[in-house]
Each structure stands twice: as C-alpha cells, then as structure tokens.
C-alpha cells in the first residue's frame, strides 16, 4: 500500500512554545490512523499545520492524492489544501449556523464546482446542471451519513451528535483523499459514539483513508490500524493498538495527565526553558 500523506520533520513554534517538535508521520491508502495524546499535546496544531491554517516553522507535508504525483502542501492556503484532496472537521463545531443542513454540505462542493459571476447571473444550462448535481451529490452524502431526515433543517436546530456528523458530511463533500477528524466523538453519548464508530468503519471500507484525533480510547482501539502518540509536541510512540496499549511511555504520559495536568505542564515547560 502506498502512502497518501507523508509528513517529514514537521515543527511548529509559537514564540517560545514548541507546539510540534520534528514530527514524522505517514498514512497509507485505506488506513485509519489515530493521533492521540493528552490535552495540549499539539494534536489540533498538527491538523492546522497540515491543512494550511498555520504555516509550519519547519518541515514538509506531501500528499499523494488518488492517481496523482506528490503534492507539497506546506505553503498552500487552506482552500488549496482542500481542493488538493484533504478535508477536515473541527474540534469545536464550526458549521454555518444560518444555513440549512443541505447548504452546509453544498459548501463542501464549492471546490469541485466552477460557476462564478456570469454563470450566476445568466443561469445558463451548464450552471443549472452543475447546481442540480451539487444538490444531488450533497443529498447523497447526507444519506450516507444518515442525516437525510434533516435535509431542509437549519444547521443550528440539529441535535449535538448530528451536528458533529454534519461536519463529517461537509468534509466528505470536498471528495477528500484523506479525511481528518478532530475529536469527532467529543461530547457524544454512548449511543451516538457507537453510531459514529460504525460510520467511520463504513467509510474506511469504502476506501476512505482517515486520520483521527480522539480521546475515547475504546473508539481509537477498535478502529485504528496504527496509532501515533503525541506528548508535548513530540512523538513518543507509534504502533498498532496492541503495541500502544502496552507501551510504558504512553502509560506514563496518560497517568501524568490524570494526575494534575496543569502542574505537569508547567513543570515540563520549566524543564524545557
């Protein structure tokens, strides 16, 4: 299996804070890979760096989209990254609240469609066809995600779990080669989490490669083929779920967190300085 995403030596510093420290990571076709680590470890920062929201201080991000050559993503803007084939969800839900569920997904189709000013004004056949196609494809995605009954609802009226799923639907609409999920199960009840697990598995079986940030260890262990563990911006372990479960460094990092997170952090930062 060939690699879809290759991250080499990625570092991100905010002033004196080293949020990511020389990270190497690889994701292959059809894989579910999890990125775990205590709060503040730099997981979200990693997503922001590879999707172009932050400009990494150092390192390379290479994407091999379906049937394409390597594309260097660092230096590209977030919208360019999306159109190259990498889409993400957000840890804090960022839906377009005033839009309907369908329209939210349609926004995801933006980078796969073309109509602009003239098309909008003239509303010629090509534009109408494209619009109809956007609607049909968006609805098909909603059906796949199991949100079709909310199709005309306002996004803000959705139950919490459905909002999280809508974020996934919107990201899928960009036709990503790699889907990045930032804590998709956060705040979900056990029933919703179970449904989410089934959904992610179904996507993977359809050939979707997924990089998952998640705190729910049961979900991570059930789904992932491989796991990367991040602590204070540094990779401390990688391997299969079985290997990670028994890795002493990982256990230590997680025990340290449950102890007292803030104390732990200031202690470590003091040591760095």
């Amino acid at each position: 299996m060939s690699a879809i995403l290759k991250v080499k030596n990625l570092s991100m510093r905010f002033g004196g804070v080293v949020a990511l420290n020389a990270l190497d990571l690889e994701i292959h076709e059809g894989e579910i890979v999890a990125l775990i680590g205590p709060n503040g470890a730099g997981k979200t920062t990693f997503f922001n760096c590879v999707t172009g929201i932050y400009k990494p201080t150092e390192g390379d991000v290479l994407l091999t989209a379906r049937g394409q050559e390597n594309i260097r993503l660092n230096g590209l803007k977030p919208n360019q990254v999306a159109s190259k084939g990498m889409a993400r969800t957000f840890q804090n839900i960022r839906l377009f609240q005033s839009m309907s569920v369908l329209e939210n997904v349609m926004i995801g189709r933006h980078c796969r469609t073309k109509a602009y000013i003239l098309g909008a004004i003239l509303r010629n056949k090509a534009t109408r066809d494209e619009e109809q196609e956007t609607i049909e494809k968006s609805y098909a995605i909603l059906k796949k995600i199991g949100l079709e009954k909310y199709v005309n609802e306002s996004a803000s009226n959705l139950p919490y779990g459905a909002q999280r799923r809508l974020e996934i639907a919107r990201a899928l609409a960009t036709e990503p080669s790699l889907l990045l999920l930032d804590e998709p199960a956060a705040g979900m009840n056990p029933q919703e989490t179970k449904e989410l697990e089934e959904l992610i598995l179904r996507l993977q079986q359809e050939g979707q490669a997924i990089l998952l940030i998640e705190h729910d260890m049961k979900l991570v262990m059930n789904l992932s083929h491989r796991i990367y563990v991040l602590d204070y911006g540094t990779l401390i372990a990688t391997g299969t779920p079985q290997e990670i479960r028994n890795n002493p460094a990982v256990i230590k990092a997680y025990l340290g967190e449950s102890d007292d997170d803030s104390q732990h952090r200031s202690h470590k930062e003091g040591a760095n300085a």
Partner: protein
C-alpha cells in the same frame, strides 16, 4: 404584588437618576444665560423643570417600550422557528409575490404621468438609493463586510462621468458601464488592504478610505476643480433628441426604474448561486469556509467589486441628473444613510432594502410639513424601528433550498427497510 412593585420602583428611580443627570449636564446652557453687554446673568429656573420632567417622562416611556419589545421577542423566540409572519408568507409565495411585483412595476410605469415632476424627481432619488442599498447589501448583508466608505464608489462613478464628459465629451451611455467598471476596480483596490480585517477594524479602515477619496477630490484642484466642483455636465442623451427639463426628468425616471429592475434581477441571482452561498459561508465562519475550499481572497474581492459596481453606475446617473457635482455630495453622512437603508430595511433582504430606501429617502421629504422638527421626527422613527424591529422592517425568513427526495428514492428506502 410586592414582587411587581419592586422593579417598578427601581425603574422609576433609574429614570429619576437619568433626569437628574440631564438637568445637571444641560444646566449651563439651559438655565444660565449670560448677557455679556449688560454684564448680568439670567437664571431660567423654569427650564430646569422642563428638562427634568421631560427627560424623566421620555426615559420611562423608552423603558416601557423596550421592555415590551424584549418580551415580544422572547415570546417569538419560544414559538416554533418555522412560523412565518404575513409579510414573510407573501414574500415566500410566488403566487402572491409576482402579482405584487407586477402591480408595483405598473404603478412605477404610470408614476410620472400621475404626479408632478417635483414628485418624480424625489422618486428618482429614492430609486437611486434603492440601487445603492442593494449594492451595499451585497457587501454588508451577504458577505458580512461592514463597509462605511461605500460613498467613495458613488463618487468614483459621478466624477468618472463628470470628467470624461467635460474633457473628452464622452456620452452618458458610454460612461455608464465605464463608471461601473472603474468603481469595481476601486472596490478591489480597497479590498486588498482590508482582506485580513473584520468587524470594527474593517469599518474604520473603509470609513477612512471614503474620506480619503473625498479629500482628494476636494484638494486636487487641477484634477477635480476642488470644492467648486464640476458643472454643465450633459444630461443623458436620448437618440440625439433634445429634451425639455420635464421630459428629461421623465426619461431619467424610466432609466432608474429599469436599473432598479435590473439590479434586483442580478442581486437575486447572485444571492441564490454558488457565489452567494460562499459569501454567506464567509460571513458565518471564515476559517471553516476556507477549510472547505473557498478562496477567501477571491470571494471577498468579488463582493467588494460587485457591490461597488452599482454605486459607480448610480454615481454616473447622479452626475447626469444634477448636471453639477462637488465633493460635498459624497460625505460620510451619505455612506451612513445607505448603511441605514440596509440595516433598517432588513439586512440581506432585497425587499427590505427597497422598503428601507423609500422610508429613509421619502420620509424626510414628506415630513417637511413638520418644518424644523423634521429631523427630530425622523430620528424618533428610526429609534422606534430599531426597538420594535431589530431585524429591520422586512425580515425575510431566509430562503433555503428546499430539497424534495425523488419518489423512487423513497421506494428504495422502503424496499431496503425490511431486509
């Protein structure tokens, strides 16, 4: 009983405090009157009582109104979200909306024949502000970019025609599209430096931009003839036929009517397009919008350019209508009025902007009967609108695309269910 009395007492006390403050603050101008020649001071104590009593009563009235407005809003929020008011129903249903639009248009077509040319002239102004409002609505209402310098593009259009007409003898119909293009170009010019700004910061910078354009026009004498302005601009040509003043007013009226219809058509189509959706998404959440593949730079600049374009066109028409322009017509107040049209009419709603333009432009005209209290009454009406209708006079229920699953779709689902 007690529980309802206590807040009442508190409110009264608060109003009393406001009244006392007003008495204190207005004391030097309302009560003391110095006669410098006779070297005497007159104490007008009765004024103090008027101010105190007046403020107290006004403050209580405002409080009651605001309280009621709040209660009503709360009640409305509790009701189901998908309930439409009468106006919203009319605007949503083509079978009501189209006849209404046609009736309005028919009324517009006969307007110059029913009313005097004075009335027609006022109506031309109102129609000009409709187009200005619709243009600004693209920037503010749809894309959510608070632009306080919109008048600059209006000035660009007006001066394009004035200068090209006096120096190069270019006609109205040639400059109309040129003015639009030039204004759009200036829209992009303004857009570039403010791409990263939002909200208050954006408002301040755009305000500055508007003032810069006006100051350039005021001070660059060789270019724009400074404050004395440019006169003897040609009225719009009508197939080379000379028109009397009355005829040219009628002509301009129809021209404006046409432009309004054209603007509504274009703005409506933009709103319901891929681009319109991108604008709304950008307004809602810039980061999510970019992460979904929307080019922020391109989308914002398009909004600025497409908004400015209308101001440019109306500017050309303004110069042709008045045959004289100077920088005094393009002050910040003008931007503020156009923004008020958008906000008071109903942000993001085409009908709202039209109603807003008529209210804001026609009301002061017809309030002339109140002579010097005209602006006071106007201000009071605006405050009342904002208290009772904070979403604007017409708040259209946002139009969503209504998706109806195809019948065969349901079929498949039913077939799949038992398995």
């Amino acid at each position: 009983m007690m529980s309802s009395l206590v807040p009442l007492l508190q409110e009264t006390l608060r109003s009393l405090k406001v009244a006392l403050w007003f008495v204190f603050l207005t004391f030097p101008i309302m009560v003391i009157k110095v006669h410098p020649l006779e070297k005497s001071i007159e104490w007008r104590w009765q004024n103090m009582i008027f101010v105190g009593l007046g403020t107290f009563i006004l403050s209580i009235v405002a409080r009651i109104l605001m309280d009621q407005g709040k209660k009503r809003r709360k009640k409305r929020a509790l009701q189901h979200a998908q309930k439409y008011t009468l106006v919203q129903t009319i605007l949503r249903e083509p079978k009501y909306l189209y006849p209404l639009a046609f009736a309005t248009l028919a009324f517009g077509l006969v307007f110059p024949w029913i009313f005097s040319s004075y009335q027609t002239n006022i109506m031309i102004t109102a129609l000009m502000y409709v187009v200005l409002g619709l243009g600004l609505n693209i920037v503010v209402g749809l894309a959510g970019l608070l632009d306080l310098g919109y008048v600059a593009f209006y000035a660009v259009g007006a001066y394009s025609y004035a200068l090209l007409n006096t120096h190069f003898d270019l006609g109205f119909w040639v400059v109309l599209p040129l003015g639009a293009i030039l204004a759009a170009f200036f829209g992009i010019l303004l857009g570039f430096p403010v791409l990263r700004l939002r909200g208050d910061y954006l408002a301040i910078v755009t305000l500055g931009f508007g003032e810069i354009i006006r100051l350039i026009l005021e001070n660059w004498n060789e270019f724009s003839q400074g404050p004395s302005g440019i006169s003897n601009i040609d009225r719009p040509g009508f197939f080379g036929i000379e028109l009397t003043l009355d005829q040219s007013i009628t002509y301009l009226f129809y021209l404006m009517l046409l432009l309004v219809v054209f603007t509504i058509f274009v703005v409506n189509r933009l709103q319901d397009s891929r681009l319109g959706r991108a604008w709304v998404a950008l307004r809602e959440d810039e980061i999510a919008c970019q992460a979904m593949g929307i080019d922020k730079t391109k989308t914002k600049l398009t909004a600025f350019a497409l908004g400015a374009m209308w101001a440019g066109m109306v500017g050309v028409i303004f110069a042709a209508k008045t045959t004289f322009i100077n920088p005094a017509s393009f002050t910040f107040l003008e931007s503020a009025i156009i923004l008020a049209i958008v906000v008071i009419g109903g942000m993001g709603s085409v009908v709202g902007v039209i109603v807003g333009a008529f209210v804001l432009i026609l009301l002061p005209e017809y309030l002339r009967a109140l002579s010097e209290y005209r602006m006071l009454a106007f201000g009071a009406i605006m405050v009342l609108v904002m208290i009772y209708r904070p979403q604007g006079i017409i708040s259209t229920a946002k139009r969503h695309i209504q998706y109806k699953p195809k019948p065969d779709d349901k079929h498949k689902k039913q077939a799949a269910d038992p398995s």
